[in-house]
């Protein structure tokens, strides 16, 4: 049986004004696998995630996410993507529970079992009714993990997902967003060694262009470090 691709990019290009943020990115990622995106600051990593999340429109090339062409069929994939980025996408004045209730409504979910289960998994039940502005950044990041997973997405887009998390919290979120989650994942990271351990495919970007695209098994730490020179 043919393995269907969760992501298919052909010549993907994106500009901000005159500046080329992504140029001619072509790759294919089978379902259930993990793509790691590496590169120095300003390489286009976050732009790539926002394009895949339907938050940005491509200016050239083709993008297929979960079998749907973007941006034309963005409506069909929105409920199947979970984005965990630099911003938690949560309201500071609302509590964790209130934020999750809002996102549940946006995704057509009823009942609070899923939110409760996720809050329990990240050990945030006790602080779930306090406004987020009173919580530490690490705690907010844990709530953001719950928000990204609330609708049980097939594709996870993770932009430095462990930022702000202490080792204990990192361990808590691992079953949810790590390889064990069984989801197709795209991970942006600045930790080449860590990424090699959990990626199937590695994309290296430098100034928006593909500098490296290889199976993780074919790479070592030294070759990844070259990207940052």
């Amino acid at each position: 049986m043919a393995i269907l691709a969760a992501l298919e990019l052909r010549g993907l290009t994106r500009r901000y004004g005159e500046r080329l943020a992504l140029a001619d990115v072509t790759l294919s990622l089978p379902a259930g696998q993990t793509l790691a995106v590496l590169g120095p600051n300003g390489a286009g990593k976050t732009t790539l995630l926002r394009l895949l999340a339907t938050l940005l429109r491509p200016h050239g090339g083709e993008v297929h996410v979960l079998g749907h062409a973007l941006p034309a069929e963005g409506w069909a994939v929105r409920g199947r993507i979970g984005l965990l980025g630099h911003e938690p996408l949560l309201y500071r004045e609302l509590s964790a529970r209130e934020n999750l209730r809002l996102h549940a409504a946006l995704h057509g979910l009823t009942g609070e079992e899923r939110a409760q289960e996720l809050l329990g998994a990240v050990a945030m039940e006790r602080r779930a009714d306090e406004p987020l502005r009173t919580l530490s950044r690490g705690m907010v990041q844990r709530v953001a993990v719950c928000r990204a997973l609330l609708h049980d997405p097939e594709l996870l887009l993770l932009d430095e997902p462990r930022a702000n998390l202490d080792p204990a919290a990192t361990e808590l979120v691992e079953p949810l967003i790590g390889r064990a989650s069984g989801r197709t994942r795209v991970i942006v990271s600045h930790d080449p060694a860590g990424v090699l351990a959990e990626a199937d495919l590695v994309l290296g970007l430098v100034r928006g262009r593909v500098a490296m695209l290889a199976a993780a098994g074919e790479l070592d730490g030294a070759s990844l470090a070259e990207l940052y020179r």
Binding site: L66, G67, Y91, L94, E98, L102, H103
Partner: protein, 236 residues
């Protein structure tokens, strides 16, 4: 991987609207960023007019002009704050990542701005009557409410449109008033002209239907424009 439908049923517009309105209410009640500023601005402005004009009994054109100019400038504060929490805290992206119908965001913002204006007028109109209005408020109130309703509608549709347009820019505090004030001039003109005979010194005059109908037509045109372009404003 499959290209099957999402695992959950599409969100119902009514449930999404209620959730967004609950969020707006909670955020405003906990941050007090919009309505208190609008109300305080209006009362302060009436006090300033009270001393600057050295009169405590305005009527007719002057009363109508002072009331509407103050309400519109106070409304600008609300328009500027309408989308700020969403833009600064990622609420826009959170909404756009969901399969919810995007026009529901328009309805929620329009209803939120309308609620801001209603609370503003609950404070501003009695303050205006107390500090500046010559004729009594009670006889004029039914007609005044009719003009306020149509004026509010104009502010709501233009404010929601401009708020969504300005919030994604880095100069939103400047761009909002720069775009909305010219668009609100016809609302001001029609509302002030319609209010003038209602606040006449010789008693409550008849509402000038010509200005009310012009205002209603202007509201309708901008409501249609806002509905037509709102989704595109949310796009990248």
């Amino acid at each position: 991987m499959s290209d099957a439908a999402p695992r959950h049923p599409a969100p119902r517009a009514r449930a999404v609207l209620l959730a967004l309105l609950r969020k707006e209410l909670r955020v405003e009640l906990r941050s007090f960023e919009a309505v208190p500023a609008m109300s305080l601005f209006s009362v302060t402005t009436f006090v300033l007019f009270h001393f600057a004009l050295q009169r405590n009994a305005l009527s007719g054109d002057l009363a109508s002009g002072v009331l509407w100019v103050t309400l519109l400038f106070a409304a600008m504060l609300g328009i500027n704050r309408l989308f700020v929490a969403d833009a600064e805290q990622g609420g826009f992206d959170g909404f756009l990542l969901s399969p919810a119908d995007r026009s529901v965001l328009l309805y929620s913002k329009a209803l939120t701005l309308l609620a801001y204006l209603l609370v503003l007028e609950l404070v501003a109109v009695p303050a205006f009557a107390l500090l500046l209005l010559g004729p009594g408020l009670w006889p004029a109130l039914p007609s005044l409410l009719a003009v306020l309703a149509l004026g509010d509608l104009g502010v709501v549709v233009i404010g929601t449109l401009v708020g969504a347009l300005a919030v994604r820019t880095s100069v939103r505090d400047l761009l909002g008033p720069m775009i909305s004030l010219p668009l609100l001039v016809p609302v001001l003109l029609c509302a002030a002209r319609a209010t003038s005979p209602v606040l006449g010194a010789a008693g409550v005059g008849a509402l000038p239907l010509r200005w009310l109908l012009t205002l209603a037509l202007y509201d309708l045109v901008f409501a249609l424009i806002t509905f037509a372009v709102f989704d595109f404003l949310l796009e990248d």
